[in-house]
């Protein structure tokens, strides 16, 4: 049996709920599909309840008022998340979660309004560029996966230096294939931190775990990858 921080046999993956979070149940479902235990984390509790990894799910935390993620990043639960990230805990930010991780400084850059200025919901092909992060080892490099994208502020921007650094270090994890859906620089759909433990992406892998309710089950790979990373650790 592996040595998990949680001390249990299956890894425990926490899913945070902020006021206005929408895809928390879906992220928890994906975690369970992949074989891990989902633990719900409440925004107002500065407590990670012994989890081995954390997902910051999608939605409209605090209505996305002011800026997406701007208010949520100050929530009490984010203190221990930032601390755990520093120690290398796998963290995944999906859509609004990605925006929150950027606002919190765990990932560089920011997400701005889609170039066509409206919300876009569509099944989006992504190319997997980096297969060594905690959330992407189950994919083949260069593989194309079909994942729903649904966001109004998904355009990734960063200063030229930051962008060059990300590209230079191979920290772009996923890239949009075909038409750029939101004006993202370099077609960036998802990035990682320098250690490859924190990943943020705009598309929703938790909506692609079953061909019944999604366009594919291509998203499961991210959750499997994290479980692999935890069990090996």
């Amino acid at each position: 049996m592996s040595e998990l921080a949680s001390g249990s046999s299956a890894p425990k993956i926490g899913v945070i709920t902020f006021p206005g979070t929408l895809d928390d149940q879906d992220a928890a479902r994906a975690v369970k599909y992949a074989g891990a235990e989902a633990v719900s984390l409440w925004h107002a509790d500065a407590d990670l309840r012994g989890v081995d990894a954390v997902i910051v799910p999608g939605g409209f935390s605090y209505g996305d008022y002011l800026r997406c993620g701007a208010i949520a990043r100050f929530a009490p639960v984010m203190g221990p998340v930032i601390e755990a990230a520093g120690k290398g805990m796998p963290i995944l930010g999906i859509c609004n979660g990605f925006q929150i991780l950027c606002e919190a400084g765990l990932l560089p850059g920011a997400l701005v309004r889609n170039h066509e200025l409206h919300f876009v919901c569509r099944d989006q092909w992504l190319k997997v560029e980096n297969t060594s992060t905690a959330w992407s080892t189950r994919y083949d490099k260069g593989a194309e996966i079909l994942i729903p994208l649904k966001s109004g502020e998904g355009g990734y921007v960063a200063e030229p230096n930051t962008l060059a650094e990300l590209e230079g270090e191979g920290r772009v994890v996923f890239r949009y294939v075909g038409d750029n859906p939101n004006g993202s620089l370099n077609n960036i759909a998802g990035i990682t931190d320098a250690r490859g433990r924190v990943v943020g992406l705009m598309p929703h892998p938790e909506h692609a775990i079953d061909a019944l309710t999604g366009p594919s089950d291509d998203g499961l790979g991210m959750f499997f990858s994290a479980i692999d990373a935890l069990v090996k650790a």
């Binding site: 929408l22 919300f119 919901c121």
Partner: protein, 605 residues
């Protein structure tokens, strides 16, 4: 300021001592005889606050005064057999049906046509917000929305103002609430140019035992207002009271120009949903009522009227967003994202705790009494003292003149249509493919989240939307909303049946069994006998069709006065059909030719 208000307030005592005071009831939309009836009911003239309440509750929108006599036909034609799965029907916030395995599903369509013309984004957004609160009030978790839209010609300049705003509003609100949009309609026709239709549907589910019908029972139970603060939203009509009564007072007179635009706050509503569901789960509410079109007037009078006693409300307690609001304004405000609950005194602390957890403002504003009267006080003075049923349920009922329009015959004239030749067909097909009414709806549906909640198994481009209700068993429901206004114009009776049949078929072909019907009847002015004829015919057609199919109408909504000048919109009875499927894995997706060798069959003749 406060003292000043108290002096100026039109109390019951003041009304008794000034019986002859002229009141602006006509400006508030009341007819002479309606005003007289109010005086008879009360045995005196109404106060400003009472007048505000009656006028809004006796409006067409709230009282169904022109449609009631016709809508009763639905009840008359619904057999016991059809009723067998119905847990709540017409008259409740939304219809409820038993779908098996202990699940109850509630669904309803509602119009928000006029507000969406004035301010497309906010009008459509608050339309979605309103229908979702209706579903919440039943004790259900809202699960999905649909939207049925009508616009003027796609290339008309005003359509370019209205359509993008409406679509962004439906999406903006629904996406932020976390409700998948699983279907709808977009139709263009010149009659909708000055009067677009925005009909929103919401469906929700609960365990059968969790069904909550809103009523204020149990003397001593507390009335709690929770959610957003009350502001000067949507009370344009009522501001004539302020200005007429206090002419000379500049602050109130200035309000006449208020735009009656309500701004939606989907975030507050999302939190309100979670808060309500937790309140229901904890079993600490007797009943919940949403604050819809007529705000507190509606919520308090309906709760009291459906209960077994009376109610006392202290208006001073209502948390306000604007300064210097009068009782009439507070009662008529249409501020969004508010709910009213009836709570046992022993549960009030627990109730407040749940609200605090979700950061929802909650205020005890009154209690259930045994007086049989709805009494509302302001600064310790009585400003409303009425029998609640007379406000909520015993409004005027009209038997409006009904007259088949003379031009109906010419519409029915058979015209000799030449059989098209092969070359005509090519042109015809090209014209159809290029028409806005048949174009792709992706520009619209791409702005709606169809994935959230992870239970959507069919959505665009399928014929019906389908969601999973029970994750274990796979039990789910399918829904379709349909209407062809041109058919209804030609023959409203058959047209309504065609709408029903289309929605029924759309549900059936997805693999679900149709079980219940809701509707949103969009028509012109009820004061036009021709329109009333269309309305009567459509209701009869729909009801008779339902009997034929053996499924009941569980609820609906009527929207009259949809017209530009004297030109009415096409009669548009939008019909929604709900179906049940045991296991959504057995759904039938739309599309042919997925596999080579498939056989194509044409059914029917």
């Amino acid at each position: 300021m406060t003292a000043n208000n108290a002096v100026n307030t039109d109390t019951v005592k003041h009304a008794e001592s000034t019986p002859e005071l002229a009141q602006p009831y006509r400006e508030l939309g009341l007819k002479d005889d309606e005003y007289q009836r109010i005086r008879e009911i009360l045995g005196r003239r109404p106060t400003d606050a009472e007048l505000a309440m009656y006028s809004v509750m006796w409006s067409e929108h709230c009282s169904y005064k022109s449609s009631k006599v016709h809508l009763s036909y639905f009840g008359k034609t619904t057999t016991e057999q059809m009723r067998s799965k119905m847990l709540a029907g017409i008259g409740e916030n939304a219809g409820v049906v038993d779908i098996g395995d202990g699940w109850a599903v509630t669904f309803k369509v509602e119009s928000h046509n006029h507000p969406s013309y004035v301010e497309p984004y906010q009008g459509a957004a608050t339309g979605v917000g309103g229908i979702v609160r209706d579903i919440m009030a039943m004790g259900a978790r809202p699960l999905a929305v649909m939207d049925s839209l009508r616009f003027g010609p796609a290339d008309a300049p005003d359509t370019r103002r209205v359509l993008p705003g409406v679509v962004a509003g439906v999406g903006g609100y629904g996406n932020c609430l976390g409700l998948p949009n699983i279907g709808g309609e977009v139709v263009f026709d010149s009659t909708y140019l000055g009067n677009p239709l925005v009909n929103a549907l919401c469906v929700g589910a609960m365990r059968v035992e969790d069904l909550h019908l809103a009523h204020a029972s149990g003397t001593g139970n507390k009335i709690i207002l929770f959610g957003a603060r009350t502001g000067l939203d949507g009370i344009g009509g009522v501001s004539v009271l302020a200005s007429d009564t206090f002419s000379g007072d500049e602050t109130t007179a200035g309000r006449k120009k208020l735009p009656s635009v309500q701004v939606g706050d989907p975030f507050t509503e999302k939190v309100l949903i979670e808060c309500c569901l937790e309140l229901f789960r904890e079993g600490i509410v007797v009943g919940i009522q949403d604050l819809g079109g007529a705000g507190l007037s509606c919520a308090t009078s309906e709760l009291a009227s459906a209960g077994d006693g009376g109610m006392h409300v202290n208006l001073d307690r209502v948390p306000l967003r604007a300064k210097g609001m009068t009782p009439a304004e507070i009662l008529s405000s249409e501020s969004q994202e508010r709910m009213c609950a009836v709570v046992k005194p022993s549960d009030v602390d627990a109730f407040m705790k749940v609200c605090a957890k979700w950061d929802v403002t909650a205020t005890e504003i009154g209690e259930v009494t045994d007086t049989g009267r709805l009494v509302i006080t302001w600064h310790d003075e009585v400003v409303v003292d009425v029998p609640p049923r007379t406000v909520a349920h015993e409004g005027p009922v009209y038997n409006r003149p009904v007259q088949r329009p003379v031009e109906q015959d010419s519409l029915q004239q058979p015209i000799d249509l030449a059989r098209p030749s092969t070359s005509d067909l090519r042109d015809l097909v090209l014209r159809m493919v290029g028409s806005h009414n048949l174009s792709s709806r992706n520009w619209v549906t791409d702005q709606y989240d169809r994935y959230v909640r992870g239970g959507t198994v069919l959505s665009q481009p399928a014929d019906s939307g389908m969601i999973r209700i029970d994750e274990e068993s796979g039990r789910g429901v399918a829904l379709s909303v349909d209407c062809n206004g041109r058919y209804c114009k030609l023959d409203p009776y058959t047209g309504a049946q065609l709408a029903l049949a289309e929605a029924y078929r759309n549900v059936a072909v997805s693999g679900a069994t149709p079980v219940a019907v809701t509707n949103c009847l969009n028509f012109g002015s009820p004061e036009d006998p021709g329109v009333m004829w269309q309305f009567e015919q459509a209701v009869r057609g729909l009801a008779d069709g339902c009997v034929e199919l053996g499924i009941p109408v569980t609820g609906g909504n009527v929207s009259f006065y949809n017209q530009t000048g004297t030109t009415a919109i096409l009669p548009t009875p939008v019909v929604g059909v709900l179906g049940v499927i045991d296991d959504v894995r057995r759904r039938i997706p739309t599309g042919i030719g997925a596999e080579a060798g498939e056989t194509l069959l044409l059914l029917g003749n």
